[in-house]
């Protein structure tokens, strides 16, 4: 039943992504409307899947890389739907939906069985909040990333005075900068909250707030990078190109922390040790 839901969510999201790509090429509003509805349906189904997993496992269903990627895709979709409500910018979907789709595909193609039993260690409210907030923040940063990429594309055309087919399809620089800004402002507190709850959880479960394992260190670096970006934006008035480049760099750092470190390191944050959830 659970995997049926996941499959269905996957199919819907892929379908919506295809539609969003067709939309950016053909510019038919009806194509977007349908893709948006399908994506929304996919998000609902995905939510049901996660809720089911949560009930079964008794904790946030993010115990291996496979499920983490799926969960990331879910928060990205959610963040996009939120921004769509506010900005009503159809073309944004054409950039973000593929991101979610890629994560979903990765999630299905990565081997990793179902987690049958969860160590009691993981059944903590703090862990659930930690995972939820960190990923929600990551979803926001993904939106910021997409807006930054769109900004650079559009800015390049306006600066170089060469107008390709994207010029008409992309919105104004001001809009893209505003989306980037808004996404950062929403994402940063979520990430911060996630790190704090993570530390509290570590204190409860492992006896210390901070253990300097590679994931923690890189997370701190990522957090600092975003802190600098937000600070520059808010106090110095960074905006436009420089802010866009920086937010792309920050997001790449975040992906590295998210996937790279989890694979390299063998510490408790790595998903390999989490998969050991089967041990009694």
């Amino acid at each position: 039943m659970a995997w049926l839901l996941f499959r269905l969510a996957l199919i819907l999201i892929l379908l919506a992504t295809g539609g969003m790509i067709v939309f950016i090429v053909r510019q038919r509003k009806s194509v977007f409307t349908w893709s948006y509805r399908i994506l929304f349906a996919g998000f609902i189904v995905h939510t049901l899947f996660l809720a089911h997993q949560f009930v079964v496992l008794g904790t946030a269903p993010v115990l291996n890389l496979k499920s983490a990627l799926g969960f990331f895709a879910w928060t990205i979709t959610g963040a996009y739907l939120l921004f769509q409500l506010r900005f009503r910018l159809m073309v944004l979907g054409s950039f973000i939906a593929p991101l979610a789709a890629v994560l979903m595909i990765l999630s299905t193609s990565i081997p990793g069985g179902e987690v049958v039993a969860v160590r009691p260690l993981f059944k903590s409210l703090w862990l659930t909040i930690h995972v939820l907030t960190v990923f929600a923040g990551d979803g926001m940063f993904a939106v910021a990333f997409a807006a930054a990429v769109m900004y650079l594309l559009q800015e390049h055309q306006i600066k170089r005075k060469r107008f390709g087919s994207m010029y008409r399809r992309l919105p104004s620089l001001d809009t893209l900068d505003a989306i980037n800004h808004r996404a950062l402002i929403l994402g940063f507190p979520l990430l911060t909250l996630g790190m704090v709850t993570g530390a509290i959880y570590a204190q409860q479960a492992l006896g210390s707030f901070w253990r300097w394992d590679p994931k923690e260190v890189w997370s701190l670096i990522t957090w600092l990078a975003y802190a600098v970006l937000l600070h520059e934006r808010l106090t110095v008035g960074w905006r436009g190109r420089r802010a866009a480049v920086m937010s792309i760099a920050c997001f790449l750092l975040l992906i590295f922390t998210f996937v790279g470190i989890s694979l390299i390191s063998s510490d408790y944050h790595s998903f390999r040790s989490l998969e050991g959830g089967v041990t009694p």
């Binding site: 104004s172 620089l173 001001d174 008035g237």
Partner: protein, 466 residues
Amino acid sequence: MIRIVTIGMNHRTAPVELRECLAQDSENVPRALAAMREDPAVREGMFLSTCNRVEALYTTQDPEAARRGIHSILTALSGLPEQEIQAGLYEMEGMECVHHVFNVASSLDSMIVGEPQILGQFKEAYGRATQERMSGVILNRLIHRAFHVAKRVRTETGISDAAVSISYAAVELARKIFHDLSGRKVLLIGAGEMAELAARHLLGNGVSHIAVANRTFSRAVQVAEAFRGTALSFEEIDAELLEADIVITSTASAGYVITRDQVKQSLRKRRNRPLFFIDIAVPRDVDPRVNNLGNTYVYDIDDLKGVVEINRAQREQEAIKAERIIQEEVLRFERWLKTLRVVPTIVDLKEKVESIRRAEIQRSLAALGPLSREQMHAIDVLTASIAEKIIHDPILTLKRKAERPTRDQVLDMTRQLFHLDEPESASSGACAGARTGEKPGTGDDETSVPPPLEDAGGRRKSEPHG
């Protein structure tokens, strides 16, 4: 046979002095409509009057008389001699006219192709015509199709989003940078027709304030007054660079008026808010290296011309697409118009059968003796359904043949077979049907069109055959 005709003048056929005479007075539209209603040759009519176009659209069975009528209406409204008016008029009929109406509604016939106002003006003119009960089956259908075509052209082609003048191109670029121009500030340095035009367009698009700087302060004051802006001396430009969002330069200066260092210093104080320079001057007023600074965009006259060129080429592409849509829709309308031609025969057929049925019931009632209400009702239903079933297939055939070239033969045959054309009763002229009663929007159903459109004279008087 009914003809759809338009007579009018636009920016291509008539000079502005002539168009002015007709378009000036807003009371001219109701007057023209009233005059058209008085004209017996005009069946349905609509009168469109904008600053670039004055047009009467009507249907008629007597094109010659209607033309004379419309000419005299236009002459009377303009107060000019008839020859002068006639010289600027065009006239189109049939599918050519339909094509033209679709073109106008889609803004392909406008002075600035793609400008959106015309559709609103068109709707208003149609609203007037329906208020005056001057629109009937054909015009209703035609105008509704025109709205549909305009919508298709707008959504399926990019015809209306490419700016083809320099000042429009500047506004479009500003929108791509700032999104919303309301609340933005413009600094106009120097003066000149094109610069002022650009400023005016920006104001028209929501820019809230304009500051004008000029080497001769009195000139700055003069231009600023025209824009209800503030006048500045040349020395105040530095300070204004911190405030402005869009800077238009157009001075006769030989060197740069805006240097890279000057802009660079202002950027941090501006907190990197974007700054858009529109440099219309030759030689240039803004150091081109300013474009390399962050969040700063410099477009000189050549850049803008480049944008316009691209847009123009693109628009030609889009115009081809729009033309295809319009042709498609003209064909569709033509098909509908043809189905309309079989309607009178269908109506006649139904009426004839109905009158036979009634007469036969009357005649048989005496033989049947006293009947209850229920029995009467049963006889009524029985005969009606027999009659209906008998003519069902002929009617279907007629509808099917409506678009075929053999239509007229089939119509002829039907009229002969059912004896629909009684020679003694084809005289009285009653053709006002199409104009009365229908409301806009009812013209879409192809078969529910009651008024006979061909010569409808007295055919309803059919009689029972003994």
